[in-house]
């Protein structure tokens, strides 16, 4: 019976070390588990695929470096898909760090698309505070919300902004979000008030909540949830990247955590039975 008691008191530093190793090793030696694309990810992909070349979409970068590993791969994959299909991107950020996240992604992707030009195929309008109120404001009066791009140049100078006064001329809205303000606010305003299709990617923490919006009312067309969602999207656009590479490590770490949950519970039940027998 002693072994069960020991089950209950494994030093947490052992767990820390095992998690560290469990994540590190599969990064170095990939195992190559197979990956399946799920419905919600495919819906976002199809939403983008069905847009006509030249259509302008809005991508909102509502995250920062703290959740970069989960969301940046989505941003990169989405940009790849957009530029391949000649979809034009108007980028904004509701989180101040989103501005730099967006520029990093653009720098990385645009290197492979030499004919993509800032101001024609892509623009970064920078950060605005205010969350839902600001989204509502830009839906009514885009130009007074964003009089300039992120570098302080008037938006009238850029062809991509021609005729954009509200959301009417946008093909769809995509929000890459790590919390509040983010995807929820976009669903509430862009779709539920102004009828624009909204798709998006969130951290895995947010995903179960946001899934309630992926419904018959199409409040949310589809959802990329966490690193797995990003990996599936990389598979769809055929550009395996960071997310795909991370999936093995993710799987191994989950397995370690599940094993520890089991050990803890086995110990718990075994010792509890003993306790009740004693009493």
């Amino acid at each position: 019976m002693k072994i069960f008691e020991r089950f209950l008191h494994i030093d947490r530093r052992i767990i820390f070390v095992l998690i560290f190793i469990g994540v590190a090793l599969p990064l170095i030696w990939t195992l190559g588990f197979n990956l399946e694309v799920t419905e919600n990810v495919e819906s976002v992909y199809n939403l983008m695929e069905e847009l006509e070349p030249g259509t302008r979409i809005l991508i909102s970068f509502d995250y920062g470096p703290s959740t970069k590993p989960e969301i940046q791969p989505m941003a990169i994959a989405l940009m790849e898909q957009a530029f391949t299909n000649r979809i034009r991107i108007i980028a904004i950020a509701l989180w101040p760090m989103g501005v730099q996240m967006c520029n990093e992604a653009f720098e990385k992707v645009s290197a492979e698309y030499p004919n993509i030009e800032y101001g024609i195929d892509f623009i970064n309008l920078g950060y605005k505070v205010g969350g839902m109120v600001t989204i509502n404001h830009m839906a009514k009066d885009f130009r007074s919300t964003f009089p300039t791009d992120g570098g302080g140049n008037p938006i009238d100078e850029f062809p991509i902004m021609k005729g954009i006064k509200n959301f009417d001329k946008l093909g769809c809205v995509i929000s890459l979000s790590a919390g509040d303000p983010g995807l929820k606010q976009w669903v509430m305003i862009a779709h539920d008030t102004f009828g624009k299709p909204v798709g998006g990617g969130t951290t895995a923490v947010q995903a179960p909540i946001m899934l309630a919006y992926v419904n018959e009312q199409q409040q949310l067309v589809g959802l990329l949830g966490g690193l797995k969602g990003a990996a599936e999207y990389e598979l769809l656009v055929n550009k395996p990247g960071f997310a795909t590479k991370g999936m093995d490590a993710q799987s191994v770490a989950h397995l370690i955590i599940i094993i520890f949950i089991l050990i803890g519970n086995i110990g718990y039940f075994a010792t509890r039975k003993k306790d009740t027998m004693k009493s």
Binding site: E52, K169, T193, I209
Partner: protein
Amino acid sequence: MRVYILLVILIFFSFALCAQDISFTASDNPNDDGGAILLEWNVPPSFPEMIITRSIDKENYIEIARVTPLLKTYIDDENIEDGQEYFYMLSVPKMNGETLQSFSASAIARAQWFNTDKISLLIMTILLGSAILYFILSARRGKRLYIRKISGLDTIEEAVGRATEMGKPLLFVPGISDLDDMQTIAGLNILGHLAEKVAQYDSTIYVPVCRSMVLSTAKEIVKESYLRAGRPDAFNPDSVFYLTDDQFGYVAGVDGIILREKPAANFYLGAFYAESLILAETGFESGAIQIAGTAMPTQIPFFVAACDYTLIGEELFAASAYLSNEPNQLGSLKGQDVGKAIIILTLLVGVVLEMFGIHFLKDFLATH
């Protein structure tokens, strides 16, 4: 003459060819504050790019957009004045791209006094608003409103009793948000009740906080509770103290208290973020009774798994209303319950109607 006949035949033929497929209309963009005209067309998708032109005198047409048949609609909001009639021309090139064929339409933009898309929203607004107001007013007039007992709350007394027996203190964590978060206020309301019990049993309570505004309010509340219990002398102002504003720094501090003082019971009531699991784990290891409550949907799982009782979401507010007996909170809660009852009934009716293939109710409620 021959030219005319030829023209007529040509026009007739082109109409005959296209009439069944092609249409083009202009109308005031509905439910807005004016300044926009809605253009709609129905053109076979095989047609190439088309041009929309606009004029105010039917003579000088200016190009406003190039569109594809698939787009189906276009909202013209460039310098449109309300009350002025605008004429539009949709120029459709033929399949071979040679001659152009044009369709015209006209419309006047206006602002609307009522947004007809929002009738169901308006009805719900009125129903819900008046229910909440009605119950708040009747609670203020002294009507007793019933609120069910929240199961976790019974354990408060039990926990205080156990702590007194064991000679150990209690720990109350009001979350890491400031006073502008309703969850913090709800948590502090419960703290008031808890501190009163602590004063009655002559036990000790620690309240570490991470916002300076919360510090002064919490101090005030605990002091008042001791006064209500008739033990103002027993109040120790140092039992409510500020640690740090920083999330992890605060958690490290609270963890230290749990490990050092080994409280008999830990209460986590308020707004919590990622720190919830660290707190719940440390408390669980120390063997304390743990009671938690938060409306943060992402953090509830950790509390449910590691605490003895968890107030889930709205239960936190209900508990606060129940304990404080404040008419505004009670009335509002009751009004919201009316809303929930309406939703459940509508949902049941809606599902039955859907089963019989009647979509009226669903279509009426679904607006955007």
